[in-house]
């Protein structure tokens, strides 16, 4: 009997594990190399094709820095971003930022405003401050609302 229970638990665990298996994210060598030389290479799925196009057109003035690429590299990266983008107005932002999209805002509505500027986080572009395994495609946040509330008391 005990053996059966153990077996069922094991099978259960296997199934549970199978459920959280993260499918591999699309990747591209140039995208990783160029984008991640300054910040996390943000996944294409967080903006629409149109939004990526606008962003990649303005790399000479990229949020306060010049991130210009040569035309071939720009095209290759834009192609990769667009073919893996998510369509829909909630994945578009006039300010060119992922954090400006409705998708981002809806998913971060419980994060207190002050949380974005604490030393550990610094900015909305610093995904891995909370989503520590984001670069492996796992976006589950390790820092939840209670963490921020506790942290901000100091």
């Amino acid at each position: 009997m005990n053996f059966l229970v153990a077996l069922m638990l094991m099978v259960g665990c296997e199934l549970a594990q199978a459920e959280v298996t993260i499918p591999p994210e699309p990747t591209n060598k140039k995208w990783k190399e160029e984008c991640a030389s300054c910040h996390m290479a943000f996944p294409p799925k967080f903006m629409s094709a149109k939004a990526w196009q606008r962003l990649m057109l303005g790399l000479e003035h990229h949020f306060g820095t010049n991130a210009a690429l040569d035309p071939d590299d720009n095209k290759e990266i834009l192609d990769f971003l667009q073919s893996n983008a998510t369509e829909g107005t909630e994945f578009f932002a006039l300010n060119h930022r992922i954090s400006g999209t409705r998708y981002f805002k809806n998913n971060h509505s419980k994060v207190p405003n002050e949380a974005w500027t604490i030393e550990l986080v610094k900015s909305r572009a610093n995904c891995t401050a909370c989503h520590i395994a984001a670069e492996k495609g796992n976006w589950k946040p390790v820092l939840d609302d209670s963490f921020f509330t506790g942290h901000l008391k100091y």
Partner: protein, 138 residues
């Protein structure tokens, strides 16, 4: 050497070529000197000019008035980008061998940073002087 071994050796060499782009600070300086000489006959490289260039206040960008605004004045230690806080690896190739090892990368960053700090692209002469200063002092 068998044909198979030769193939392996060639593949290995081709692979290494990808890792090390094959450029050195001195070969890059030589390339820029040759380019500069084409327009300025008798051009000779100067680390001293490179130093003045590195420290020059260009008056173009408020946040990045000079090269050293982000790269710091001690070339053997890391710098920090004044806008993004990104840690910038040391400029001196003696502590950061990756520096000035790929002409493509060097050109990419000259293009970005010159426009941002100097408000225009840098000349081959300026690039030669710059790398000369970073690697051999000025």
């Amino acid at each position: 050497m068998s044909a198979k071994k030769l193939c392996c050796a060639l593949l290995l060499l081709a692979g290494m070529n990808q890792v090390f782009a094959g450029d050195t600070p001195d070969s890059l300086v030589a390339g820029y000197v040759a380019e500069a000489s084409a327009t300025t006959p008798g051009f000779t490289v100067s680390g001293q000019r490179g130093k003045s260039f590195f420290l020059k206040e260009w008056g173009v960008s408020d946040k990045m008035p000079t090269c050293n605004a982000c790269h710091g004045k001690n070339l053997k230690i890391e710098g920090k980008h004044v806008v993004t806080d990104k840690i910038i690896k040391p400029m001196d190739p003696s502590v950061n061998p990756e520096r000035f090892s790929s002409s493509t990368k060097v050109e990419k960053w000259f293009k970005r940073n010159c426009k941002e700090v100097a408000g225009r692209e840098c000349t081959p002469a300026e690039k030669a002087d710059f790398i000369q200063f970073i690697t051999h002092g000025g």
